[in-house]
């Protein structure tokens, strides 16, 4: 029995890992396509039909690039940087519930790698670790620009994690649990989605997620115009690709988090009114979940090609003087609303 469970989880981990990497891989193409389409051009379309083989071509190019480790760099940490970034990006998808139970024969499979009762906390821990990859890499490069990028990444991550955590506290006050599986299960159907009761919290979470992923308009850590690439200036070859890949995986994970926490995860409208069997509900639910995730990824890119980068002082002001007070106000409002609801309804 134990080994069967182990096998089941291993298969699930491999599948989730493969899907994550696949989506991250094609995000690079989609990003360039979206950029092209928004600038009245086509984007890459030479490698394969519609440029579908472009990610493979990019990967091949990265593999054959020369591997450069600067003489002044701390070699071990220089290599550890992208590794940590990639590792932390990958493990955060472990607690996300991809779907409900799938019954094959008499066995019931849960489509979640680990249902730990502190799922949200786990995500926070891993996301906080994520900045170490950037910091270590930028610091070990022995380069002023890289160090500036690393410092910026660290301070930005600290500032926005607070806003993110506070916005989530308001959500947790409503759900009453830290387990992601239960949070998603509570949002059954359409009207129970958390976005309807926590719109402000979602907005704060969204902004903070952009900042945590180092995406435009908060990509000050890599800021091409000021830091010529920031923390990854000295990186080349597959190590650079790892950093870029980690960014896309982070984007995927935070998209799935937003979909799970605020947009009902695998829940879709009228899911129990169509007379479908449980297995079909699960399968459609998984597809719906991925549709939501892809929509969020598109939104990330859409924002990237619309909004210019913040100045550094603007970034800090937004984080400390606007988002955190707003998040606190949101907590207070949620508390009052909960009490009013419990007393009078």
């Amino acid at each position: 029995m134990e080994s069967a469970l182990l096998l089941e989880k291993t298969i699930l981990v491999v599948v989730v890992f493969a899907i994550t990497l696949f989506i991250a891989m094609y995000s690079t193409l989609v990003e360039r396509k979206v950029a092209g389409f928004m600038q009245a051009r086509f984007g890459p379309d030479r490698a394969g039909p519609f440029g579908l083989l472009q990610p493979l071509a990019d990967g091949g190019k990265f593999f054959f690039k020369e591997e450069i480790i600067p003489a002044g760099a701390h070699k071990a940490l220089f290599i550890a940087g992208p590794t940590i970034a990639m590792f932390t990006a990958c493990i955060s998808s472990a607690v996300i519930p991809w779907g409900q139970e799938l019954t094959i024969g008499e066995k019931v499979f849960t489509l979640q790698v680990a249902d730990i009762n502190v799922g949200v906390l786990y995500i926070f821990g891993v996301v906080a670790l994520g900045v170490y990859g950037i910091m270590i890499g930028g610091w070990a490069s022995n380069n002023k620009y890289a160090l500036m990028g690393a410092v910026r990444a660290a301070s930005q991550s600290i500032s926005y994690e607070i806003g993110m955590g506070l916005s989530l506290i308001a959500l947790l006050m409503i759900t009453g649990t830290l387990s992601l599986k239960e949070i998603v299960a509570q949002q059954e159907g359409f009207v129970n989605w958390n976005i309807w009761v926590q719109p402000l919290g979602f907005l704060i979470f969204l902004v903070c997620a952009f900042a945590e992923c180092n995406r435009v308009p908060f990509d000050l850590a890599e800021c091409e115009t000021e830091l010529i690439g920031g923390y990854n200036v000295e990186y080349s070859s597959m190590k650079l690709a790892f950093y870029m890949f980690a960014e896309y995986i982070n984007m995927f994970v935070s998209s799935s988090l937003m979909a799970a926490l605020y947009f009902g995860g695998y829940n879709f409208p009228f899911m129990y009114d169509l007379g479908l069997s449980q297995n079909w509900i699960t399968i459609i639910g998984v597809l719906v979940f991925f549709a939501k995730i892809l929509a969020f990824i598109f939104f990330f890119m859409w924002i990237r090609w619309t909004v210019p980068r913040f100045r550094y002082d603007q970034l800090m002001r937004l984080g400390w003087k606007i988002l955190i007070p707003l998040a606190v106000a949101n907590i207070v409002l949620t508390g009052i609303a909960t009490i009013v609801k419990d007393t009078y309804f």
């Binding site: 389409f37 928004m38 600038q39 051009r41 086509f42 379309d45 859409w302 924002i303 619309t306």
Partner: protein
């Protein structure tokens, strides 16, 4: 002082109101603009497959024409070289010998005819100057070369390929 055109507009720099300082409405408007462009037709020509059409009066590489019987029309009068503002054209004339009537239309012809494509500014004045309708700028672009001397085009590159229309008539019949 009064401005001459009366089109001057004085820009007022007001402090932003709350709506503007929120920044979100502006972002939403920006998102609307980018998504509008997302669905608009694209300006790109997918080059090797689709080529951008030339304008009707495009002036490209020169060609020296032949008449209906395949004889060179040029009589080496030198008016093209004279009219050329860039002094790109040179030629050496020669007299037509007996038995060469099927090669050259006039009694005098250009034995050497060279255009320096690096000097040429593709103004088309040679075309206008020619009394014999012998030169036209109806080709495409001048292709790139490695050496400067290769840009001096002689008759081998300029004269139209010979169109043997008697032979052609036979093959058609």
């Amino acid at each position: 002082m009064q401005s001459l055109s009366n089109r001057k507009k004085v820009l007022e720099q007001k402090p932003m109101n709350f709506w503007e300082r929120m920044y979100l409405p502006a972002i939403v408007r920006g998102l609307g603009i980018t998504i509008k462009y997302f669905f608009q037709p694209k300006a790109t020509y997918k080059y090797p497959e689709v080529q951008r059409p030339y304008s009707k009066n495009f002036r490209g590489q020169h060609s020296l024409k032949r008449d209906e019987e395949g004889r060179e029309r040029c009589t080496a009068c030198g008016l093209c070289a004279l009219s050329c503002p860039a002094e790109a054209i040179t030629m050496i004339s020669a007299e037509r010998q007996k038995g060469e009537e099927n090669l050259y239309r006039e009694e005098k012809y250009a034995a050497v005819y060279e255009i320096n494509m690096l000097r040429c500014i593709f103004c088309g004045l040679c075309e206008e100057a020619c009394p014999k309708e012998a030169i036209f700028l109806d080709g495409s672009h001048v292709p790139p070369e490695q050496l400067r001397k290769d840009f001096i085009y002689g008759k081998d590159k300029l004269v139209e390929p010979r169109f043997d229309y008697k032979k052609e008539q036979k093959t058609i019949a």
